[in-house]
Symmetry: C2
Subunit: 213 residues, 2 copies
DNA sequence: CTGGATTTTGAGAGCTACTCTCATTTCATG
DNA sequence: CATGAAATGAGAGTAGCTCTCAAAATCCAG
């Protein structure tokens, strides 16, 4: 009743006063839905959590949930790393060898995602391994990541981004990295993610290591 | 009423007299459902086709459709190339270099799938490009293909099939080949599929070709 | 060939993700 | 504060998918 906003423990774009009230509310709603879903999934598991429950906890109507997220899986997943990766790639020196750039950028992306919210990022990879629908949705988003990547490769190498070669190359990278994150989740997130990424990129660049026997 | 079987234009496992009546009927039902779905999709498109319609045309109940296929997408997709690929891989000479074996086997698999029913195989790849749910399901089946592949790689190279390296390698191959089939479908199936596979495997083996400028 | 065990099928109820429409409320602005 | 625009809520409806139970088809002994 006072018009004062409740205290927050962390900052978010919702607190940016330059945005109109409408925009700030939208961001808050989005966050509320995500938070509600994460909590419910932690309590009951993914499948047992219904949109209705999420709506109730987030204090919105089910309709609103669907307005903000096209599918249930998207509530857990969408966080848009792609534009971030793209920007970082463009920021690398133009004469840097392509694989080196890729390595740098992947490491930065990982670090950002982890620093931001390690709990969420682990929950997400765990759901990827455990819930088929989520994994499926994740793989679906692979194709758009692939498109972005081949765009970047095109800019950098001068090759046609729509050629079969570039497309295959981009998709094999995306596939390899996705497998890496699943591996990480399956190992209970215990290994160093950065190191795994490095090993994965090694394989993609140079093929399998020689067998030792 | 005569006990005579109706004439067939093509042979199928359903005609194998060594199987009991029960088994033969099951195979026929499976085929009937698939055929019904393919026809309806050709007529109306994927989304407009409901399970009820499929059941009606296949002359079974909706319950039965679900008994034979876990999801709608599976009616279009499942055809189990994996065991076939695995068998072919094992049949290659043990001292043949791994990439050579892979190339042979992929070509054989393609040829078999095409010869068997080129219409269906094109419809399938087209749906993969056009219907997100189908593409998604296809990618999901990638992971099991990946598992099979890394098993084979393990047998051949002596590397641990569960190591990150082998897993990443297998998944990058699968990702690259999936992209190839999408490329093929997007080009209206006009290019020679075999040639595309070769170019894709080249990229996976040797990386991108040098830019020509 | 027949009777009983087993498997397959059909009917139907039920759940939930997701879509669409329309009235109501909430914010922006002159 | 009034007017227009945007966000929300309520509710009905579709379709994929699951489960249960009784009826029908198949198998197999005797």
């Amino acid at each position: 009743m006072t018009g004062m906003t409740a205290p927050h423990t962390s900052f978010s774009p919702a607190d940016n006063p330059r945005l109109g009230l409408r925009e700030r509310k939208k961001i808050k709603t989005r966050e509320a839905i995500r938070t509600a879903m994460y909590a419910l999934v932690a309590e009951q598991g993914y499948d047992a959590t219904t949109i209705e429950q999420i709506a109730e906890r987030a204090e919105v109507s089910p309709s609103t949930v669907y307005r903000y997220f096209p599918t249930k899986e998207d509530i857990v997943l969408t966080d848009e790393y792609d534009p971030l990766i793209m920007a970082e790639l463009r920021a690398r020196p133009a004469d840097e060898p392509w694989p080196v750039s890729l390595r740098h950028v992947m490491h930065r992306a990982i670090r950002m995602g982890m620093k931001e919210d390690p709990v969420v990022s682990r929950l997400r990879t765990r759901l990827m391994v455990e819930v088929p629908a989520v994994r499926s949705r994740m793989m679906e988003s692979m194709s758009s990541t692939g498109r972005m990547l081949r765009q970047a490769i095109g800019e950098r190498t001068g090759l046609d981004p729509d050629s079969l070669e570039v497309r295959v190359y981009a998709m094999s990278i995306v596939g390899g990295l996705l497998e890496t994150s699943m591996y990480w989740a399956e190992q209970e997130h215990e290994p160093d993610y950065d190191a795994l990424i490095d090993r994965a990129l090694n394989v993609i660049e140079h093929g399998l290591p020689p067998e030792n026997h």
